[in-house]
Amino acid sequence: MNWSLILGITITIITAFTVGMFYGGISRKVTARIQNRVGPPIWQNFLDVLKLYSKESAIHHGWMQHLGPLWAITASTATLMFVPILNNGQFYQNLNFSGDLIFLMYMMVFGQLGMALGAGQTGNPNSAIGVSRGLSQMVGYKVPWLLALVAIMVQYKATSITGLIELQNQIGWLMFASPFAFIAGLLAFIGMMHYSPFDIVFAPSELASGPPSEFGGKYLGLMMTSGSIFTFAKLVLFVDVFLGGASNILELLLKTFVIYMIPVIYGIVSPRYRTEQSIRYFWGWPTFFGVIGMLYAWYMIS
């Protein structure tokens, strides 16, 4: 039994939760300021989650709904475990030497599948519609995301993130070393964050918040927790791959915050796509940049 490992894991999860929550609050605040409102305090999300956990009753439509949020949080924390948080971090190094990019790409959909099953069992039409939209959109943004990552993998002959980080310590950030892949990855990342115009999954005014519409109380709380952790994990992954990781926590926060603000601000000023529009969007310019990046990688290695 490796206690330091368990301690590290716990602290990592807590950090991720906190940071994710604060980022959510900040995004709400920023939205409010742009809409010329005062907006909630940035710790508002903590209060929401706390309230949800302090609900005294809960309902579920069966085992799959009961397990759905578990599935989600398992997947999000697992994703976090295999992403190196800090470059030199003996402390935050959890299991990240036993996972690589391809593994992560599959790990990230694990939670979505579980959530989808949970939402499916509620029997609420809105949930099913949301799930169908979400999965379709996932196929959309996976293509440029894949192109970007594969371009990097084949160019630098590494599929493990730690390897990529070490490499970036020598040759600089990959967003400059292979810019087209970075553009494609960034555009795909915006879709991955599910902010408007890509918020077709939770679309509150059409779908009554989509998949979670039958979840309340502790289930919703667990989902929000895992959502915040997952956000942080995705941000760290992006930073590790393209921005050369971070050597200390502040740098990490800075980079992740910058990356996080891009989808947020892009989302505030843009309306919502329809599903096929969003898919076609991802198969348009982002894929084009991805292909360019791939050809660039090909040119570089040969």
Binding site: V38, L47, K51, S54, K55, P204, E214, F215, G216
Partner: protein
């Protein structure tokens, strides 16, 4: 049944603090009063300052906001929505109609006082109340929550027979399974 908790316990305090500062509102826009909700939520009066935000479905909501008169038909839906909400849950009666029927006090198909059918925690009077009044009502609700006095949902559970009686008196074709007990 549920014993009265000691509201000074620290855990209870924190819980109430959280509940108080994050109110997910399910605005049930029945009557004309619904028109006052958008200005309350949007930039002019920005209710989100107080952690008040709209909820999409009753499963996620904390506050049921009944804006205006309730026809007998509508009452059935309101009861169902209320029972689908998770405890603790609060009800705000909005406008005179929910208090005494208002200008519909002698109408054949509206109910006069909402309190007889589902427990109301805060009434906001006026026909119709302006957003300032709404917000002050919410603030009042928050105070009650903090003090632990906003326990309409407990009352509903304890005196369910009485409430059912009243409800069935109004709703003739009672075809509702018994929820949330």
């Amino acid at each position: 049944m549920i014993e009265k908790k000691d509201s000074l316990a620290i855990g209870e305090y924190i819980k109430n603090f959280a509940r108080k500062h994050s109110l997910f509102v399910l605005a049930y826009g029945t009557g004309c009063g619904a028109i006052e909700i958008p200005p309350t939520m949007t930039s002019r009066y920005d209710a989100e300052r107080f952690g008040i935000r709209g909820a999409a479905t009753p499963r996620q909501a904390d506050v049921l906001l009944i804006t205006g008169y309730l026809a007998t038909k509508t009452l059935k839906r309101v009861i169902r929505v209320y029972e689908q909400m998770q405890d603790p849950k609060y009800v705000i009666g909005f406008g005179s109609c929910t208090i005494n029927g208002g200008m519909y006090w002698d109408s054949y198909n509206t109910i006069n006082s909402l309190d007889k059918y589902i427990p109301v925690d805060v009434f906001i009077n006026g026909c119709m109340p302006r957003p300032e009044a709404v917000i002050s009502g919410f603030v009042k609700l928050q105070e009650y929550i903090q003090e632990g006095k906003a326990d309409g949902w407990r009352k509903y559970q304890n005196n369910i027979e009485e409430y059912r009686e009243n409800q069935k008196r109004i709703i003739k074709n009672w075809r509702m399974p018994d929820y949330n007990l």
